[in-house]
Symmetry: C2
Subunit: 190 residues, 2 copies
DNA sequence: ATATAAAACTAATACTATTAGTTTAAGGGA
DNA sequence: TCCCTTAAACTAATAGTATTAGTTTTATAT
């Protein structure tokens, strides 16, 4: 009872192709027809690898989250203390800029409650918690801080991507100033 | 040269119907077929009122932005000083909670650079600038603060909507603590 | 060699948006 | 009162989408 393992390594290749499609032509271009054409196969053949468009969206979301985590974790390496949060934040927005489609797909899973999706996202939350341990925040306050940081990072990335910031004002500066303010405000907490 | 004005008031009615569709069944349910069915007409007839699906998405985005602005402006009425930003923030996330589809449609305009869309969004930015004048922020720092505030508000709303916050921890508290921290951090700025 | 099973295929169905061209009906002006 | 204009509906047809059912290819394990 043995399948055909030689092409068994295709699945990751397929998801990668879907990611490129998303980055190059927008997440709306991630259609079974486009993906099949890019791979040189017919749309129905894709059903052998994932469960339809919903399945593809889920796998692409997880793939994007993993890549984002990887970028953040790499950025955290080598720096320490309060510098870390800025390095990781830079990596976050850089990922969203370099991979706009994959970043958008990150939040486009059909069911966010899905255990696999949750698990992928949990790694980013955990990393964020660890990073913020450089700041002396007791108990719940640390968790609120994580939510605040994630909100800024996602809100900033999404608004930048959707053209929400039209003022001619350095974008990275806005982000860094905001994050520093959030954290010093958290420390000086009332 | 006179048309048929009796049903001329339909357009706002149509967009409202699209908004309900978005809130009740998700923004993906805002299709010409569904909208036409809800209105009791045939899909092609909708082309008399807007320029296809793209036109509908644009009008729905502007409609949502206007409604959001209205909610924020109402919340700003009656309060003053540093209380205002919290009241307005509460109104913002409440709108996103009560109108998830319309809120999502807010950032789904086919072309964010469109002058009408920009104009609608500018009102929200202006209001934010005015609100933050209660804080003594000089020049560019005030603009960075507006970006930070908008990032938190959108990021928080989007992550909440997408099920990004699974920790059992009061959501409003997270938002308020984060916004207060951002603003006090901005004041104590380095 | 042969059976198994992954992974491709063709064909068909049901949904989408969209265009073209036609019909209905409300007013305004003669 | 009649007619002309014009908004706003319609039908019919096209192209693109996901999806299902059933078939064929083919590599590998036994």
């Amino acid at each position: 009872m043995s399948p055909r393992p030689k092409i068994g390594l295709e699945l990751s290749f397929i998801i990668e192709a879907a990611g490129k499609l998303a980055d190059e032509h927008g997440v709306n271009a991630v259609t079974l027809a486009n993906l099949a054409k890019k791979l040189g196969i017919r749309p129905p053949s894709l059903y052998n690898h994932f469960d339809g468009l919903s399945g593809l969206r889920k796998k692409l979301a997880i793939y994007g989250i993993d890549k984002l985590y990887e970028a953040m974790a790499n950025a955290a390496d080598g720096v320490s203390g309060t510098e870390t949060v800025l390095a990781v934040s830079q990596a976050y927005v850089d990922f969203a800029r370099r991979h706009p489609g994959m970043y958008e797909a990150t939040l486009l899973a059909p069911n966010p409650e899905d255990v696999d999706v949750q698990q992928a996202g949990a790694k980013i939350v955990d990393l964020s918690v660890r990073i913020l341990q450089a700041y002396q925040l007791e108990g719940e306050r640390a968790l609120h801080a994580v939510r605040g940081l994630r909100s800024i990072l996602h809100g900033f990335s999404a608004l930048e991507q959707k053209g929400g910031f039209k003022m001619s004002l350095d974008l990275n500066e806005s982000l860094f100033i905001s994050i520093k303010a959030l954290l010093t405000g958290m420390e000086h907490g009332d």
